[in-house]
Amino acid sequence: MRDQLSEIREKGLEAFATAETSEKLESLRQQYLGKKGVLTEILKGLGKLSHDERRQLGQLANEIKRLLLQAIEERKEELLDKASFLELQPDLTIPGIGIAGGGLHPITQMCYDLNDAFRSLNFEIFSEDEITSELYAFDYLNFPPDHPARDTMDTYWLKGTEDKRGAKRLCLRPHLTGASVRYLQQHGAPARFVYPGTVFRNESTDARHERAFYQYEALIVDRDFSFSSGLLLVRTILEKVFGHDVPVRMRAGFFPFVEPGFEIDMQCSVCDGEGCHVCQDVGWIEVMPGGAPHPNVLRAAGLDPDIWSGFYINIGLDRLVMMRYEIDDVRLFRSADLRFLEQFK
């Protein structure tokens, strides 16, 4: 019986150590340690033996059982370490199974990036309707009647109102600035708000000109707000949008609703200011006009220009997005062509 036990030990350890699968291991376990296993049978037979032998052989058999169980555990772990759900190495270059891939319009994306930047600076978001009147689009904004500046914004007038004047002459807004007067009339000062939206111009279109385009305007009105602070604001916003510091420069510009007016350029990100085809070798790209609200605009908004001052910036998002992705035709934005839009996630 002692020999039987040592044979079980040798063969068992050998068999467990070389079992190829966990199923095989399990059947070996049954074979040795199961209810009818060889070791179990021996243990059952111990009862016939003398007390001493029973004690000695019992100890030995239990020791063997322990060893075998240990060997099974070790082998199990070895097998698990080597295990795979896939019998064969599959072709891992086969593409994954995608999830439905929609997306926001690239201009919405840029708009939301800017919203996030401005919201972090406690700006409110304001929306004005797309149809407005000459009163808000021009008169309140210090465009003198029949002034040439009105011509720079060829406006879509609504039929039946085109020969009227002021509040009675309606149009698709040619720019966003009128919204600032609406907001200030309603909320007063101090004020910090952005008012993004689409504007419309009656122009002929080509790769660089559109009849509908998206602008993003921001206005801050406070006591004694300076241009130096405006410049800082512009830089902060661009930094948040582009993720890194963007050098900007402010230069003289004329718009009736601001006094003084600026053009704000940012350093060309394609060439880092060295000059390239994107910036037409200037190294700078005109991104936004801006300026301090003209006293007449503040008056139209019901504010005293001797107390309040501020800073406008107006960003052409179509242009900014075109620059960011080097898009060569502005008309793609409103083409609704999914082949184009799907490229922006």
Binding site: N122, R182, F254
Partner: protein
């Protein structure tokens, strides 16, 4: 507008070494946007003077000659030429091999090489004006066909081999300024004004404007301004004894270099004066002007033929220049009449130097679609004093260039002078608003070179007197002075300064957040692509969508005749976009969220302003193959939208009228708790699919009025305690009449189960006609313990029994 730096330099001492880049940068930063700077010498780079030594007939070609030309290289060059005006000792313009020319004045420039022309080698080209873009400077005469540039008379001493650019004096910088950025600067529409601005930028010295006094003792010429609101000053001067010929080359060159066409000495003088001072002038043929000048508004229907040959029918809003007999001879400030301006036989002239009111002049110019060099300047509002500069310069030029001419009469009518403006400005104001430290000296140094007179009270106030040329609407308040000071200091030199701002209320904009959540849900969860379309809709698609045009808004001048209506719903545009994309995709999903417009009278700001109704709508289009599946997908997206969009929920209901575009068997309305309609969804009908030209089997569409949604104050998640004992899930398949709906089944079982879910519908061989098979799953559970098999069976049977008795369902 173009300006010549050489011309500017005649009025100012500026640094000699200004480069084109620097000039473009400095002007752009401080004054106006420079679009481009070019050098006319570049047009003739490498082109040299040649002297024709011999001319002989080309052996192979009747219309060609072969010349030996001295181009200063010791030996002569043989050049084949088609020119008709070649002769020995002629001074010509030669482009040697390697130079780029424009063949026959057409197409792109190409590089010349020594090449055989009909068997004879030609070393370069004797150029016609067009081949070097000089036709404005050397206009071809009418009787010559293939005329080359002949410099013999103009430059008899030119040496063969000398660069043509040197001989013609073409080396210059031509500054092309963006007209838009000059809108408010009438003073910069002449070279003298630009000279003043550049002196201010570079610290140069501005010379007094060349001008001579009006000679005494000339007889009075009758000038009458009838309409004094439209014309503020009119000077007329009569010169006798004009000799009409070409202006000298130097004057023609300047006029040409800034983009105008030299014509004859008198017209060129008037143009030169305008380009120098910014003040337009005009010359009439004196023999056509009887008894002086009258400036009056036109009679209704009055006719006038202009210099450019156009016939105008006028109205009293137009201002005319007439002679003493009241015959119209010009449209004031815009263009002279065809019959009374300078003519080839003109001997005596009446010179006009006048000042017109800008706004009404602009209205006339716009109405008649006339934009001339004169009208562009007048409509910016010019100071009356500038007439004196123009008159003085004209006298000087006439004396120089028309020594035989004499002034025989002169008259003037002055209504009013442009008044000087005094503006007190506080130093405190300049400092606070700029954020930059500005001393009184800084301000004075910035303003005085621009022509402002400044007196400082030694405390805080600068009294600034605005020069008349800036006082016509450009500078009239202290903010304008602030701008002048800041731009002369240069915004580049400003430091960044954090603003002092009061942080007030936190910002909470639920509707805005909800709208963004809607877009993001549709894009990132539902897998739809956001699109933008135009607000104007095609008539064809309005028709398919079934929108009623009588409530729509129309554009006065639409982008195209068939897109004159603005969208009253988004269906038409989203459908059109789907049709476009169906060319490239079989399945796709897209959405747009934007405003739609309809007749109404809404006053968002002030009572007086009544705007149409403008509401934000959302439209979704899903394209695919299986119609009902598509419909269900869309319904599924919409069912989840309130939750992810964070606004109050909605229900689907078939109520009211079917949408005109929808399939009669697949449409629903979206309604709120109160039963108000928020939107609709449906399958595009086969008829609409056909009419739209859609290239895919079907399309499901939905439209929702976003304005009617009520954003939640906070998230509306509900917590339900976890079941204490496990739930059991079961399926059940029933056969039921076709007209029994899932909603009815659900209602019947709802209070017998923990929850129930639709799985699938089936119609087929095993199902009798008029019936359908429906499978759903449900979960059962108990609060008191785990359900036993018997308990489950009991509950299931109760459920089956209820379905049988209430809805006539059979088990499958």
């Amino acid at each position: 507008m173009k300006a010549s730096l050489n011309w500017i330099r005649t009025y100012a001492d500026l640094p000699q070494d200004i480069t084109a880049e620097q000039l473009a940068h400095d002007l752009t930063m401080q004054t106006v946007e420079v679009e481009e700077i070019t050098n006319p010498a570049d047009l003739v780079e490498g082109v040299v003077i040649g002297r024709v030594v011999t001319v002989r007939q080309h052996p192979q070609a009747d219309r060609l000659v072969v010349c030996d030309v001295d181009i200063g290289q010791g030996t002569t060059s043989q050049i084949v030429c088609g020119g008709s005006n070649l002769y020995e000792n002629e001074i010509v313009v030669v482009a040697p091999p390697g130079v780029k020319v424009r063949w026959h004045g057409e197409g792109e420039r190409v590089e010349l090489s020594a090449a055989k022309v009909r068997g004879v080698v030609s070393y370069g080209m004797i150029c016609a004006a067009g081949e070097l873009d000089l036709e404005g400077l050397f206009p071809p005469s009418e009787d010559e066909e293939a005329e080359i540039v002949d410099l013999t008379e103009l430059f008899p001493d030119a040496i063969p081999g000398q660069p043509v650019a040197d001989v013609l004096g073409l080396d210059d910088l031509i500054i092309d300024i963006n007209n838009k950025s000059l809108t408010n600067r009438p003073d910069l529409w002449g070279h003298y004004g630009l000279a003043r601005e550049l002196c201010a930028i570079y610290g140069g010295t501005l010379h007094p404007f060349p001008s001579i006094e009006i000679p005494e003792g000339t007889s009075d010429y009758s000038v009458e301004i009838v309409d004094e609101d439209r014309c503020f000053r009119y000077d007329a001067v009569v010169f006798e004894g004009i000799e009409l010929r070409d202006a000298p080359f130097s004057m023609r060159k300047l006029i040409w270099s800034v983009g105008m066409r030299p014509i004859n000495v008198i017209v060129d003088i008037t143009n030169y004066v305008m380009l120098a001072t910014g003040q337009p002038t005009h010359a009439f043929d004196e023999s056509h002007v009887s008894n002086g000048i009258r400036v009056r508004t036109a009679h209704e229907g009055e006719q006038l033929e202009l210099l450019d040959g156009r016939h105008l029918t006028l109205s009293p809003t137009d201002l005319l220049i007439c002679d003493g007999a009241d015959k119209a001879i010009g449209l004031a400030g815009i263009m002279g009449g065809a019959h009374d301006s300078i003519l080839p036989e003109t001997k005596d002239i009446v010179l006009e130097v006048a000042n017109f009111e800008a706004i009404s002049l602009r209205r006339t110019a716009s109405r008649h679609h006339l934009r001339t060099e004169a009208s562009i300047r007048f409509e910016k509002a010019i100071n009356t004093q500038r007439c004196d500069l123009a008159l003085g310069l004209t006298y000087q030029l006439m004396a120089e260039l028309q020594p035989t001419a004499r002034i025989v009469a002169a008259g003037t009518h002055r209504v009013r002078e442009t008044e000087a403006i005094e503006i007190p400005v506080s130093l405190h104001f300049l400092n606070v608003r700029s954020g930059h430290t500005i001393t009184a000296d800084d301000a004075i140094n910035a303003l005085e070179p621009l022509g402002f007179d400044v007196t400082y009270d030694g405390d805080d106030t600068l009294n600034v007197s605005v020069p008349s040329w800036r006082a016509t609407g450009d500078v009239d308040i202290k903010d304008d002075i602030l701008e002048e000071v800041c731009r002369m200091i240069g915004y580049e030199n400003f430091e960044y300064k954090p603003p002092v701002i009061t942080l007030d209320k936190p910002i909470r904009q639920l509707a805005k957040e909800s709208e963004r959540a809607i877009r993001e849900f549709l894009a990132f969860r539902a897998g739809l692509q956001e699109i933008y379309t135009y607000p104007w809709v095609s008539d064809a698609f309005i028709n398919i969508a079934g929108d009623h045009t009588d409530t729509l808004i129309k554009l006065a001048s639409p982008p195209s005749p068939d897109r004159s209506y603005l969208r009253g719903s988004l269906i038409a545009n989203v459908l059109e976009a789907s049709v476009l994309n169906s060319r490239y995709y079989e399945t796709f999903g897209l959405f747009e969220l934007t405003q739609v417009f309809s007749q109404g009278a809404v006053s968002p700001s002030i009572e007086e302003e009544k705007l149409p109704r403008q509401e934000r709508h959302l439209a979704i289009a899903l394209a695919g193959v299986l119609p009902f599946l598509l419909f269900r997908r869309l319904k599924g997206i919409l069912a989840q939208l309130p939750r992810f969009g964070r606004f109050e929920g909605w229900e689907f209901k078939q109520s009211g009228d079917k949408m005109p575009w929808a399939d009669r068997n697949a449409w629903l309305k979206i309604v709120n708790d109160e039963g108000d309609e928020l939107g609709s969804l449906g399958l595009l009908s086969p008829k609409a699919t056909e009419e739209s030209g859609l290239r895919i089997p079907c399309l499901a569409l939905a439209e929702i009025n976003i304005e009617k949604l009520v954003p939640l104050q906070s998230r509306d998640n509900l917590y339900r305690r976890l079941p204490q004992f496990p739930l059991v899930e079961q399926d059940l398949s029933i056969v039921i009449d076709e007209d029994v709906s899932w909603a009815q089944i659900y209602e019947a079982v709802a209070n017998l189960v923990h929850d129930a879910k639709f799985v699938e519908e089936y119609r087929g061989e095993q199902v009798p006609k008029g019936k359908k098979s429906l499978m759903f799953s449900f979960r059962l559970g108990s609060d008191t313990g785990t359900l036993t098999a018997e308990e489950i069976e009991k509950l299931r049977n109760r459920l089956i029994k209820k379905l049988r008795y209430t809805l006539g369902a059979e088990m499958r």
